[in-house]
């Protein structure tokens, strides 16, 4: 199973659409009152959903491991992130196996940026968004709790990197990945 196939590159534009969907789709569900969220939760979907997160973590691991020269805050964040993602890759592989699936070995598409720090930050934004897309549909509470943890770890690292790149560290009450203020041109 290829992470590339399961996890198409999340472009900036797609993030805008995804953010809109995150807001809009529930409104549709609420209005219709006929869509069963339970139908979306199925053990058979777990391997694909977990692999989507795993592919992102493999890409984050590649990006964080490539950081050589940066301010201490960024280096410290990348070091801890590398440790966390080495652990989470193993945990996700175990989850996929437990769910009778085959763990992907393919990282998600690498984010491109002018600097290594910015590249890790973009990769983390992608990772957060991909994880948010799947967390609600994982069938087991343990899987949801683990992915919840991964999202907060990604967000913390992203905040530290933004302190180096000059971005706002904690811009939103609800994190989507990229800051909402830059996603709609604001």
């Amino acid at each position: 199973m290829s992470g590339q196939q399961n996890v198409p590159r999340i472009t900036r534009r797609r993030m805008v659409v995804a953010s809109g969907a995150a807001i809009g789709a529930p409104l549709v569900l609420a209005a219709c009152g006929s869509d069963s969220e339970e139908e979306e939760r199925s053990e058979s979907n777990d391997p694909d959903l977990l692999n989507a997160v795993l592919a992102q973590h493999l890409a984050v691991l590649d990006a964080a491991g490539a950081l050589r020269d940066a301010e201490d805050v960024a280096l410290d964040a990348a070091d801890l992130l590398t440790t966390k993602r080495e652990d989470s890759v193993g945990q996700l592989e175990a989850f996929v196996a437990e769910a009778d699936g085959e763990a992907t070995t393919e990282p998600a598409e690498a984010a491109q940026a002018e600097s290594e720090v910015e590249a890790i930050a973009l990769q983390l934004e992608d990772s957060i968004e991909a994880s948010l897309e799947v967390i609600g549909n994982l069938s087991a509470a343990a899987y949801r709790q683990a992915v919840h943890r991964f999202i907060t770890e990604d967000a913390a690292a992203l905040a530290a990197l933004r302190s180096v790149t000059g971005g706002e560290i904690a811009p939103d009450a609800f994190v989507f990945g990229a800051p909402t203020s830059t996603e709609d041109g604001g």
Binding site: A31, C32, E98, A140, P171, F174
Partner: protein, 199 residues
Amino acid sequence: MSGFTRRSLMGRGLASAGALALPGSLVAAETASAQADDQTDALERLIVGEQAAELAYSLGAEEGDLDARASMLFEEFSLHSEDRGAALSEAMDQLLVDPPDKSSDPDEYDSLEDFDPAGSQEDLLAFITDQELELLSAYEEEVSELDEPDLARTAAQAAASHAQALVALRLLAKEKGSVTELPAPSTSATDSAEEDSGS
């Protein structure tokens, strides 16, 4: 800071989205009693935590001996907590369970028992950092009780924001050590993993 900045309005918009995030079927009266259990207990804990954080940030910004940067952060994070508390309260409403009332009295919140809003910046940063750590732990513990997919997603988005606030506070306080270190993982994750796998 105006209470109606673009960001706060956007936050309120997201809060509204969170409020409407539950499937329409949930509002059917016959399902209400089934929903008013562990899930709403979890929501109540998170709402109270957000309310306490909102109040602590707000009072700290008003009365604390803060520099301009800290004051701005406290005001902004107070709005964030308000938005999150509102979204979770609306979700609880949709589950036909009354959310906890918000109070402007710190004595109404156990977590603010030792809170001195007129303290020094150092003391306020230390106190509010502990609050953020507690909230992060609370979200991680309670997410396993949030059965609705949209609630699980919203909780993760909220917790991620708390993680970022934690980093901002630590950087402001010039804390030693890793600013991205989070509380130890909830043990309930391991427990529920074992239950889920039947081991």
